[in-house]
Symmetry: C2
């Protein structure tokens, strides 16, 4: 198997680390083109388990050191999978809508929280960080294999298709405090870019909410604001 | 001014980036030993503001490129401050207690959330990541300058001094769901290491709580679990 330094336009991406590889094998095996072990990988149990699944599903297996130098810059990583990229379509229901997210690690963390709180559809409004970046997939700890994510050229395109959803833009000057707001289902929790937040035009697309916080910080970080929104909307409503 | 590659045993650490430097100058100027601009730093307004504060407080200023290569590996950073490390003592009140946190970026993000929710005292149970690591300070976005953090050799030492606090260990098998628990003040939200969580002995130090989550993920990430705990304890109680 031959691997290349990851580029956004490639048809394939990489799942790095045995945990993440295993999530793909269990949840989305049809996307796995092949699995590569590092010659120094010594977790016999894990190797055996992965080999069994690969054999059963007809997935190619290989042992080589070089691919790890090419794909994974510095991390301690002894197992990887080559994953076919597919465009997904989100379903009706509760959504997280990320407007122009710019950081791969943050996106991965948000994916993990979404799955944790049972929201399995994410809309991303472009431009945005590459959701297939191996860093995104690794930061999601494999949760990327269990979620649907759809890209939209602009917010209007999303809004048109999901006009039945109750929209809650998260804004620092949102007119209601999150914890005093009844979140009606199906909901769309809408969060802006890490540095700039949501443009003020978003105040009219639904009920703007703010997370009550001290003015001693500029804002909470994006995965944290998103996760608090998810916790509140799914367990306190 | 001479700077060195940061080491844990040094008496000084570094605040990287103008935002973080400014937080120290405004909140804790007595810790700032000097400020260095990169020759390519062109934000005239910011330079002027920092110069004014440094002049008023008698803080040394310098313009050099080399320190940035030494201290800041790869980040885009045009301003830094040399910060004196001091051991702090936490006060009575609401606390976050981190048992063996191992990641500098996570610790910085938690510091930022604590300030955001008005909890200004953090106890760290050793062993733990170096809280003066420039990565911690940078990830806190300068919130490190506004918080008290005290290190404890073990949990018993903390518990003895703050036995009046209501202790809430966060455990995946905690006997009560967080959102069904009344959090009594002053509270101690206790969270374990990123990989291992809290040892089961912690179940008896107070009321163990769990954040209700899908079994499709192993756990939420540590800053997210901590921040949800903070949001719930400070705004919903």
């Amino acid at each position: 198997m031959k691997v290349y330094r990851y580029k956004k336009e490639d048809e394939y991406t990489y799942a790095l680390g045995a945990t993440v590889v295993m999530e793909y094998l269990l949840n989305n095996p049809s996307l796995v083109q092949g699995v590569i072990f590092h010659p120094d990988f010594t977790s016999i149990e894990t190797i055996k388990h992965i080999e069994e699944i690969c054999t059963a599903k007809g997935i190619e297996l290989d042992t080589q050191a070089k691919p790890f130098n090419i794909v994974s810059s510095k991390e301690n990583c002894f197992c990887m999978a080559i994953i076919r990229k597919v465009n997904e379509t989100i379903l009706d229901g509760n959504h997280v809508v990320l407007v122009n997210p710019s950081n791969a690690g943050n996106l991965g963390t948000i994916i993990r929280s979404c799955i944790g709180f049972g929201v399995e559809d994410i809309a991303i409004i472009l431009p945005a960080v590459d959701l297939f970046d191996p860093k995104t997939i690794r930061a999601s700890m494999g949760a990327k294999a269990k979620i649907r994510i759809e890209l939209f050229e602009n917010f209007q395109e999303y809004e048109k298709r999901f006009h039945k959803n109750n929209m809650y833009p998260f804004m620092l000057d949102g007119s209601k405090k999150l914890h005093e707001t009844k979140i009606e289902k199906p909901f769309s929790l809408i969060l802006g870019n890490e540095a700039t937040g949501l443009a003020k035009e978003f105040a009219v697309v639904g009920q703007p909410v703010r997370i009550d916080q001290s003015d001693k910080i500029d804002s909470l970080n994006l995965p944290i604001a998103t996760s608090i929104g998810l916790f509140y909307s799914t367990t306190m409503n």
